[in-house]
């Protein structure tokens, strides 16, 4: 019941260390032995000298981000990355999906596969593979898609979950919509589910809920890590009500991805507040759950209960297949009570539609095409991707 994480590109290698720190701190502060053991087993392995090593493979086409991630973990003295668990090159992918997917991916296929294989074989039992990447750049998106494909070929029965960071709507990378379209259309086939965080949404959480004045990328990453941690840490589930679940990813998928046409998952977590307010708040369960329900209905992913109301769900699912409750007696990450909601709903429909609309606009004028064709991605490849995504948009629209 261990998770192997694959950190891809700058984004994956920045959020990854935050996630490991979050789960480490959470499991350490808990003071509950089974919880700690379960969490540690899930994310780390222990060397003979008792050092915790993350079950993670770090991949990037340039060295700076991985160096920082590895150094910071070592310096913490609490956990570290495996010495030989990373693979990097020097020249980067230039924000070019085609460069990542057609050139770097195949070139380094064996090296990356070896690294993942080593981590997987180290697990007593594999709960699943968790790949973390952005969709806007070149490595996370392009190499990430290629690596996911390789992993699917290597482990056809394993659960593969991709965590995707979607960029700000008003640009971080000019060709981000192209890179996103090419990534999403392929991952949809390869992955079991896509857990999405949008920078715009997380930014709002930081500014409005947590009152952070000068938001940095580190702040964004911490919120994402917190939300992911709240879901991935051990919990009692429907299938496993008195022991911490030994099949967390499998259960997550079976509750949420009932149909292969619908794989987009979004997360919300409450409460989210600045540390100073933490000491002064008290929450009740009904209050929290009511807020979450409102957020689900309003498609708002910020703050704001009964989840069993059939009006919320599609009619073609049996009623007990729609909602699952997991809980844990252990408070998460400093919050006395917290609740997270993972949903497969229309909440990502509008951002996805916007992304496709902008990419299509650019495609019609053929802008930047020469940058992709020179590495082997043709206009037809683009058309195929657009077709796949329009299909997904249509499916979600008709819910």
């Amino acid at each position: 019941m261990s998770v192997v994480t694959v950190q891809l590109g700058q984004c994956g290698n920045q959020i990854g260390p935050e996630l490991f720190s979050t789960v480490y701190e959470d499991s350490t502060g808990a003071g509950r032995k089974t919880y700690q053991e379960s969490s540690r087993e899930r994310f780390f392995w222990e060397t003979s000298d008792g050092v915790l090593v993350a079950r993670s493979v770090l991949v990037d086409m340039e060295p700076k981000v991985i160096s920082q991630a590895v150094a910071k973990a070592s310096k913490s003295g609490k956990w570290r990355y495996g010495e030989k668990a990373h693979f990097c090159q020097k020249q980067g992918s230039g924000n070019n999906w085609a460069n990542g997917y057609c050139v770097h991916g195949p070139r380094h296929k064996e090296s990356v596969e070896d690294l993942v294989r080593r981590e997987v074989e180290r697990c007593d039992r594999l709960a699943g593979i968790f790949a973390m990447m952005s969709v806007a750049g070149g490595t996370g998106s392009g190499v990430g898609t290629f690596v996911t494909q390789c992993l699917r070929d290597m482990y056809p029965q394993a659960f593969i979950l991709n965590h995707l960071t979607w960029p700000y709507g008003t640009g971080e990378v000019i060709v981000q919509n192209y890179n996103s379209v090419l990534t999403l259309s392929r991952l949809y086939q390869l992955s079991d589910a896509l857990v999405v965080h949008e920078n715009d949404t997380v930014h709002k959480i930081c500014s409005r809920l947590m009152n952070i004045k000068h938001i940095s990328i580190g702040d964004i990453n911490k919120v994402i890590a917190h939300q992911l941690g709240s879901v991935l840490q051990p919990a009692y589930t429907g299938d496993s009500p008195s022991n911490y679940s030994r099949n967390p990813i499998g259960e997550l998928l079976s509750s949420l991805v009932c149909h292969p046409e619908y794989k987009l998952l979004s997360l919300c977590n409450i409460p989210q507040m600045s540390h100073t307010s933490l000491a002064y708040s008290a929450y009740t369960w009904p209050g929290l759950l009511k807020h979450l329900r409102q957020m689900l209905i309003a498609n708002a992913r910020m703050e704001e209960g009964a989840f069993k109301d059939p009006a919320l769900y599609v009619p073609w699912l049996p009623p007990d297949g729609t909602f699952s409750l997991w809980n844990s007696p252990v408070p998460f990450n400093g919050y006395e009570k917290s609740a997270s909601l993972v949903s497969n709903s229309q909440s990502l429909l509008k951002p996805l539609d916007n992304m496709v609309r902008k990419a299509w606009n650019m495609f019609v004028s053929r802008a930047y095409m020469h940058q992709y064709t020179k590495f082997g991605i043709s206009e037809d490849d683009f058309l195929d991707s657009f077709t796949t995504l329009e299909q997904i948009i249509s499916s979600y629209s008709h819910l």
Binding site: K64, Q89, Q91, T170, I217, H370, E390
Partner: protein, 434 residues
């Protein structure tokens, strides 16, 4: 490509440390210096940076190119081809990972312009996969070299066809920026004392002590190149390397002329930096007074824009300013949110933060049109043509093709400008069978 200085220099094999044991001893520049006259190169070899270069890296001749592009491109180009390729290859072999060539030359003369563009073609042939970024200094209208329009237009055709990215710089803009800074430094108004070594014209952190003519102007260009490579050399939360610049800012192969601006020009001695001043830095980046060529991107059409921030600037400052400035700018219909952003943690020496903006914008059109005007005025009268046609390898078609290349480029910009006036509507989406 390594980190910090290893990007531009490598450790030399024999300890070449000078008696001073300066911080540059043991480093060799990854560079090839070419000039067909000896004066400037000799100065380099005798100057404070001499330890950075071994004599084999300097390729020179005696008589210069006489401000004649054809002499530089064809005559010297053929004579020195082997030697140049050889030196570049040696430098390239010393790199773990070669990412980019910086080619730096002026457009108006004979060597930089002619031999420089010959070298550009050579690099494309020998190292086709490596990005070629050209920093080209364009002559002002009042330039005293009569044939500079010929040299510039002949060179431009090469740049359009063989460079991946061009950063055009105009001497006049550099002059204007220098006088602006010097004026500020001498007003003596209270609260307007400029912090020492914090201007983009001072060679802050540099080795040279005395100021020569053009030093101030050249420092601006040096700072431009430092800022462009900062993310490749230092860490940051959002890295932006040179390949990404070419990828994001060049939507169509020939439209690769990027107007650059550097802000702030100087830091006032008052260390406190309120948000308002940070926002002013962003506003200035788009003002025509801060561009390194005479162009006004704010009142023309953007195809793409890159913002590279260094130092103590956060993501939220960046996002806030993009939101603020976006409505004041025109972007082409298919790239309405065409921003490429980078955050590097390490500021330039003497500053707490800085911003480099690179714009692919139709504002370059007027400068190119002026250049074509000056060319045509000479060409119509066939003035000085015989100096060029007398050179082996040069014939009249070279001129006519260069002119039509420039005209074609100007037309492409005009076409884009015309799309700006038409009402924008999203093209219909792909229809799929449900």
């Amino acid at each position: 490509m390594g980190v910090r200085t290893v990007c531009f220099c490598r450790r030399s094999d024999g300890g070449g440390g000078g008696a001073t044991g300066s911080r540059i001893s043991g480093l060799r520049a990854r560079a090839v210096l070419v000039d067909m006259e000896e004066g400037v190169l000799s100065e380099v070899l005798q100057g404070p940076l001499r330890q950075l270069f071994s004599t084999t890296q300097l390729i020179s001749d005696v008589s210069g190119s006489g401000n004649n592009w054809a002499v530089g491109h064809h005559s010297y180009g053929s004579v020195y081809r082997e030697q140049i390729v050889d030196q570049v290859r040696r430098a390239a072999e010393q790199c773990d990972c070669l990412q980019c060539f910086f080619i730096i030359h002026s457009m108006g003369g004979g060597t930089g312009s002619g031999l420089g563009t010959r070298v550009l073609k050579l690099l494309e042939d020998e190292f086709p996969e490596v990005c070629r970024l050209v920093t080209a200094v364009y002559p002002s209208a009042e330039d005293d070299v009569i044939t500079s329009p010929y040299n510039s237009v002949l060179a431009m055709r090469e740049l359009t066809e063989h460079a991946d990215c061009v950063l055009p710089i105009e001497n006049q803009s550099l002059v204007d920026i220098v006088s602006k800074i010097q004026h500020m430094a001498h007003t003596g108004k209270p609260g307007s004392v400029i912090k020492k070594d914090s201007t983009i014209i001072s060679g802050q952190g540099g080795v040279a002590k005395t100021e020569k003519p053009f030093d101030a102007m050249n420092n601006i260009v040096a700072n431009l190149l430092l800022n462009i490579t900062s993310s490749a050399r230092f860490e940051g939360s959002l890295n932006m390397d040179l390949n990404e610049i070419a990828m994001n800012l060049v939507p169509f192969p020939r439209l690769h002329y990027l107007v650059s601006s550097l802000t702030p020009l100087y830091t006032l001695a008052d260390v406190n930096i309120p948000t308002r001043r940070l926002d002013q830095m962003f506003t200035d980046a788009f003002s025509k007074d801060h561009q390194l060529m005479r162009a006004d991107p704010k009142h023309n059409l953007y195809l793409a824009c890159a913002l590279m921030l260094r130092g103590n600037v956060q993501l939220s400052d960046l996002r806030r300013n993009i939101e603020r400035l976006r409505p004041t700018l025109s972007f082409v219909q298919w790239n309405t949110e065409g921003w490429k952003t980078g955050l590097c943690s390490v500021p330039p020496v003497g500053h707490t933060h800085s911003l480099l903006a690179l714009a692919n914008n139709t504002c370059v059109k007027p400068s190119f049109m002026e250049l074509r005007e000056r060319f045509v005025r000479l060409y119509r009268k066939k003035a000085h043509l015989h100096h060029y046609l007398g050179v082996d390898g040069m014939d009249v078609s070279g001129f006519s093709e260069a002119l039509s290349s420039l005209t074609g480029l100007i037309d492409q910009y005009s076409q884009l400008d015309s799309t700006n006036t038409a009402p924008s509507q999203d093209p219909p989406r792909l229809n799929i069978a449900c």
